[in-house]
């Protein structure tokens, strides 16, 4: 049994074998693997007694439930109006050159995926980004790159 399969069984055990458990199960897998593989979705379908199409239909609707492989750390830079006015383009450029990837791409070592996001709810402190669940606000190009570097270090230690 793969570790993802074990995780799915554990999540279904925790939330219960019902359709209402689908979101927390999908979220639980994404929290660990950062995306939902076909195998993971098939296992979830089987465990919750749903059709695979229903599982994929739900998963593919939500921005945070990725169905393509993502890096170990997912960076989402807010691109909505207030952050746009405060210079999100400079933040994105700085991150693109630091990580040597473009928006939507994942680094070769699979450590980082760089994405944009719609309003993250920090309009008074933009520009803002999420790295996984963590928030970084009042960003400058330098502090954005410094935030990324912390994750490079913690990845190496692991």
């Amino acid at each position: 049994m793969s570790s993802t399969e074990a995780l799915i069984k554990e999540l279904v055990g925790k939330y219960g074998k019902s359709r209402n458990s689908l979101m927390p199960v999908l979220q639980g897998v994404v929290a660990k693997d950062r995306f939902l593989s076909e195998d993971a979705m098939l296992t979830i379908a089987e465990e919750l007694d749903l059709s695979a199409a229903e599982v994929y239909g739900t998963a593919s609707f939500y921005t945070f439930l990725d169905t393509v492989p993502r890096g170990k750390n997912v960076v989402r830079v807010c691109k909505t109006i207030s952050c746009y006015m405060k210079g999100k383009d400079e933040i994105i450029s700085a991150l693109e050159s630091a990580l040597k990837i473009k928006i939507g791409e994942t680094t070769h070592d699979k450590q980082f995926t760089l994405l944009t996001a719609n309003c993250l709810g920090w309009c008074h402190k933009g520009p803002v980004m999420l790295i996984n669940d963590d928030v970084y606000y009042d960003l400058t190009p330098d502090t954005a790159v410094a935030a990324i570097e912390k994750y490079i270090e913690s990845t190496r230690k692991n």
């Binding site: 689908l22 979101m23 609707f61 945070f64 207030s82 006015m85 309003c119 008074h124 933009g126």
Partner: protein
Amino acid sequence: MNKDMKKVDIIFSSDCSAIDVLDKALAKSQDDIILEIIDSGLKGRGGAGFPTGLKWKFTKNEDSPVKYVICNADEGEPGTFKDREILDRVPEKIFAGMAIAGYAIGAKEGYIYLRGEYNFLLPSLQKKLDVFNGQMKDRGFDYTIYFKSGSGAYICGEESALFESMEGKRGEPRNKPPYPTVAGYNSKPTCINNVETLVYVTMIQKMGVDSFKSLGTHDSRGSKVFSVSGDCTNPGIYELELGMKLNQFVDEFGDGDAKAIQVGGASGHCVPRKDFNDTIIGFEGIPTGGSMMIFNSSRSMYNVLHNYLDFFVEESCGQCTPCRVGCQQLLKGIEAVKKGEKKPAYLDELKKLALTMKVSAKCGLGQSVANPFISIVDNFKEEIIY
């Protein structure tokens, strides 16, 4: 009728023990609580402004052994961040508001649907919730609150899409009726309120209906938490009495060069400088979920509108044609006018499309795209064309 702008401190006030307020409420009858909330004139603070007490009354009147209370914490409107602050600073007041609602309508379960972008709040919120659930249990009050998380979909702030999401489905809004008070989560009668609304419920119990009613105007009772951002000297969260005029707001928060205010977020209305004097913030003027974005004369309103439309194209659930196709065509349309591929008069065609969306889209998302589109195109036509 308007009022002078006044800052107040109710939502974040520190002299309030949420559990004591709940005790006070539990000593009253269910009907008395509902009558108090109706009498207070409290309207939903998420933006739509439905009278809270009536929503509760409708849900209570449904004959069902299972009912739910849901706190809509899927705050996603661009320019809005007040619910995050409330969740972070005074979560117990939200829990108490949900418990009072649960008691009043006869529910045993409450859910807080927290947007995925606020997951970082969850560990500390869960700890505080565990304590509060324990306090309710100690009192023999049969009511439990749970968290549910979203996963980055703006549309799930629409109540029926939120239920779909909680039921493990795509966040696609349902047809109404039936309304949530009849068939909401799990098709059971459901009372769904915004975070801020539920805190005002707690505070009305604490301060009394009369002192709440003494604030605001006839159509807009009480105060409201505003999220102020954009070109301003002090962006942030401010609780203000309802009914002020926009020019007072601009004098206080603007940078002295404001040319337009977007009231109510991307789905709200853009008010140009010439109308600041005549615009009242409240249900008699322009209602808002709290988002106030200020643009100064250095901003291109074409870029602002483009950013909003880009947002709606991405966040439209795609279920109904008017919204799915309409958002894309509005975006393509202003791009074509800007590039000179279409004549300026094409903007009139686009306005007709926006008005068609207002009457034909299935939910509030598609219906409200016309608000920013028409208010920006009408007031800043030159900036869209040239």
